[in-house]
C-alpha cells in the first residue's frame, strides 16, 4: 500500500502560509480570518485520517460464456478500518465491457462494514481472459491524503465464439472405419440401399429381397451402404488478418470453426485442428464431448503472430493429417504461404475445402484513381488464386459477416455435385 499526499494539501498549506504571512506583513487581520480555515481543515482531516484495512474478493458468476453473453462480477469489500471515500477499479481486459454498474466506482465504507459492488459484464469478444485484479484508492474525508493498493484475485474467464447457424454439413468424400452418420461408399450394415447379390451362407434372412427372389428363382439379398464416421481437420490460416473497428477475419474464422467443430462432433466424427501461421498449433483428431471442450479451449488462444519465415506443410506432424481426412481451411487468402500449403495438401490427395473469410468488408473504400486501380489489380489476383484452387478440384466458399455460413457451405456442396473431383 502506498500513501500519497494530494496536490490539494500542498495548495491549502501554501494558501494558508501565504495568507498568514500577508496578514502579518500588511497588518490585515481579515486575511488571518480568510487563511485560517485553509490551515485548520487539513489539520483536522489529517488528524482523523486512518490507514484503511480492507479485504477484497472478486467472484465471477461463471467461468465460461458465449460471445455476446452477459455475466455478473461481484467485488466484495470487508473493511476493518474504513475509508471516507474508496475508489474501486476492476481491471477488465479488452473484449470485456461493462453494461451495468460503475467501473471505477466510488463508495464510502465505514469501520467493520461490508459492501458488495456488482458489475454486469458483457463478453464482447471471444478469448481466454483472467478477470479479478482490483485497484483501490482510499481518501481521507477531505481528500488530502490517499492510499493506493491493488489486489489480485484473478480467475479464468473463457469466452467462446458464438455459433453460426449451419443447416447441412459438408459431406466428406472418404469415410473412416468406425460407425457414424455419413453414408459410405463401402457396403455393410446400414439403411441406404446399395445393390442386390446372390445369397451366401451367413447372410441374415431379413436381408433377403423376396420380390427379386420370387422373380429369379434364387435367393437374392439386399446390400446397404455402411454408415461411417469421418475425420475432419480444420485448418486455420493465422498468418495474417484483416481487421476494422474491433472486428477481424480471425473472429469470423473462429466463429465458423467453433460451429463446425460442434456440429461434426455431434455426428460422431473425429475432429482435429491446425492453426498454421506465425505460431503453429495443432490438436489430433478425436471424438466426444471432451474433444469439443479441448478444441474450443485451444481455439480461443489463437492469435495472429507476425512471422516472415517461409513455412510449408512439411512442418506439421504427420499424425495431425490422417489419411482420407476432409480438410476444411478457413483462410482470408491474404498470405501466399497459406495458399501454397493448401495447394500442397490438395496435391497430396486430401479432400480439401476452402472457406474464404472475405477481407473485403474490412477494407476501406479506395480513394482516388490510383488506389482504385490498385484495388482492381488486387481483386484480380485474388480471383486468379481462386481459379487455381478450383482447377485443382478444390471448392471455395466465400463467406463474410453479411451472409450466413450455411450459404457458403451450400456453394461447396453445389460445386461438388457439378465439378469432377479427382482424388489422387
Amino acid at each position: 500500500m502506498t500513501r500519497t499526499l494530494s496536490p490539494k494539501l500542498v495548495a491549502y498549506v501554501g494558501l494558508a502560509a501565504v495568507g498568514l504571512v500577508a496578514a502579518l506583513a500588511l497588518r490585515l487581520q481579515e486575511l488571518v480570518v480568510v487563511a485560517a480555515p485553509f490551515a485548520l481543515l487539513p489539520a483536522v482531516s489529517l488528524l482523523l485520517a486512518r490507514s484503511p484495512r480492507i479485504e477484497t474478493d472478486v467472484e465471477l458468476e461463471r467461468e465460461r460464456a458465449l460471445e455476446g453473453e452477459e455475466l455478473e462480477a461481484r467485488v466484495a469489500l470487508t473493511a476493518e478500518t474504513g475509508a471516507a471515500r474508496l475508489e474501486v477499479l476492476l481491471e477488465l481486459p479488452r473484449g470485456i465491457g461493462v453494461t451495468d454498474g460503475h467501473d471505477p466506482a466510488s463508495i464510502s465504507i465505514g469501520h467493520d462494514d461490508r459492501r458488495d459492488l456488482r458489475l454486469r459484464l458483457c463478453c464482447e469478444r471471444w478469448g481466454g481472459y483472467r478477470v479479478g485484479r482490483v485497484f483501490l484508492r482510499a481518501h481521507d474525508r477531505f481528500g488530502f491524503v490517499a492510499w493506493e493498493w491493488e489486489v489480485d484475485r484473478r480467475s479464468p474467464l473463457k469466452v467462446y465464439p458464438r455459433e453460426e447457424f449451419i443447416r447441412d454439413l459438408l459431406r466428406p468424400l472418404e469415410t473412416q472405419v468406425f460407425s457414424g452418420h455419413h453414408v459410405s461408399r463401402q457396403r455393410g450394415e446400414g439403411i441406404e440401399f446399395a445393390d442386390l447379390r446372390l445369397f451366401v451362407p451367413g447372410d441374415h434372412v431379413r436381408h433377403v429381397n423376396w420380390r427379386a427372389t420370387a422373380r429369379r428363382g434364387d435367393l437374392w439379398v439386399n446390400e446397404q451402404h455402411a454408415e461411417r464416421n469421418a475425420d475432419v481437420l480444420l485448418f486455420m490460416d493465422t498468418f495474417s488478418e484483416a481487421s476494422r473497428e474491433g472486428r477481424s477475419t480471425l473472429d469470423l474464422a473462429l466463429r465458423a470453426a467453433a460451429s463446425l467443430i460442434g456440429r461434426y462432433l455431434q455426428q460422431k466424427d473425429r475432429v482435429g485442428f491446425v492453426t498454421f501461421g506465425g505460431m503453429l498449433n495443432w490438436m489430433l483428431p478425436a471424438t466426444g464431448t471432451i474433444q469439443l471442450y479441448r478444441l474450443v479451449d485451444s481455439l480461443i488462444d489463437t492469435q495472429i503472430v507476425l512471422n516472415y519465415a517461409w513455412r510449408d506443410i512439411d512442418v506439421l506432424p504427420r499424425r495431425t493429417l490422417p489419411p482420407k481426412a476432409m480438410v476444411i481451411a478457413l483462410t482470408p487468402l491474404l498470405d501466399d504461404r497459406a495458399a501454397g500449403a493448401l495447394l500442397d495438401l490438395r496435391a497430396r490427395g486430401f479432400d480439401l475445402v476452402v472457406v474464404e473469410i472475405s477481407p473485403q468488408p474490412f477494407m476501406p473504400a479506395p480513394s482516388g484513381e490510383v488506389s482504385s486501380v490498385a484495388r482492381r489489380v488486387w481483386d484480380l489476383r485474388r480471383e486468379a488464386l481462386r481459379v487455381r484452387f478450383q482447377e485443382a478440384g478444390v471448392p471455395i466458399a466465400v463467406w463474410n459477416d453479411e451472409r450466413a455460413l450455411a450459404e457458403g457451405l451450400e456453394e461447396v456442396t453445389t460445386f461438388r455435385r457439378r465439378g469432377r473431383v479427382v482424388v489422387a
Binding site: 499526499l5 494530494s6 496536490p7 490539494k8 494539501l9 500542498v10 495548495a11 491549502y12 498549506v13 501554501g14 494558501l15 494558508a16 502560509a17 501565504v18 495568507g19 498568514l20 504571512v21 500577508a22 496578514a23 502579518l24 500588511l26 490585515l28 487581520q29 481579515e30 486575511l31 488571518v32 480570518v33 480568510v34 487563511a35 485560517a36 480555515p37 485553509f38 490551515a39 485548520l40 481543515l41 487539513p42 489539520a43 489529517l46 488528524l47 471516507a84 471515500r85 460503475h102 467501473d103 471505477p104 466506482a105 466510488s106 463508495i107 464510502s108 474525508r141 477531505f142 481528500g143 488530502f144 491524503v145
Partner: protein
C-alpha cells in the same frame, strides 16, 4: 477599484484555466489571486475591520473545495451515500470556517495591538503551518 477588479478577474480566470487543464497548483495560484484581490480591497479601503471577512472566508473555502473535488474527478460513479456524505462534509467545513472566522474577528476586535501580540501572531502562523506539515508527514 479598477485595479482590485483586475486582480480579482485575473484570479478567477487563472482558477478557471486550472480547472480546464486540470492543474491543481495553478488552481492554488488562482485562489491566491482571489485572496489578493480581497487584500488589495482591504488595503485601499482602510478603516475598521471588515465584517464581511467571515463570508469571504466561507465562500473561498467552498469554491476551493468544489474546485478540488472537480479536479479529482468529481463524483462520477459515486453511490448516493458518498454523494450525501461529501456534500454534508463540505457544508460542515464551510459552516465551521464561517464560525471560526466570526470568532477570530471577535477576538481580534477585542485585543489591543502591540509588539508582543504580533510576535504571538507570527509564532501562531508558523506553528499552524508546521502542524499541518507534520501531520502530512506522519
Amino acid at each position: 477599484m479598477l485595479f482590485v477588479a483586475l486582480v480579482g478577474i485575473a484570479g478567477w480566470l487563472l482558477a478557471g484555466l486550472a480547472l480546464l487543464i486540470r492543474r491543481p497548483l495553478l488552481l492554488a495560484w488562482g485562489l491566491a489571486g482571489v485572496g489578493a484581490e480581497y487584500a488589495t480591497f482591504l488595503r485601499l479601503r482602510g478603516g475598521s475591520v471588515d465584517s464581511r471577512a467571515a463570508l469571504v472566508a466561507a465562500v473561498l473555502l467552498l469554491a476551493a473545495e468544489l474546485a478540488f473535488l472537480s479536479l479529482a474527478g468529481g463524483l462520477a460513479g459515486a453511490d448516493k451515500g458518498l454523494i450525501v456524505r461529501t456534500a454534508g462534509g463540505i457544508a460542515a467545513a464551510v459552516a465551521s470556517a464561517a464560525l471560526l472566522a466570526d470568532l477570530l474577528l471577535v477576538v481580534s476586535g477585542s485585543a489591543s495591538a502591540g509588539l508582543a501580540l504580533e510576535a504571538i501572531g507570527v509564532g501562531a502562523a508558523v506553528c499552524a503551518v508546521a502542524i499541518v506539515v507534520r501531520l502530512a508527514a506522519r
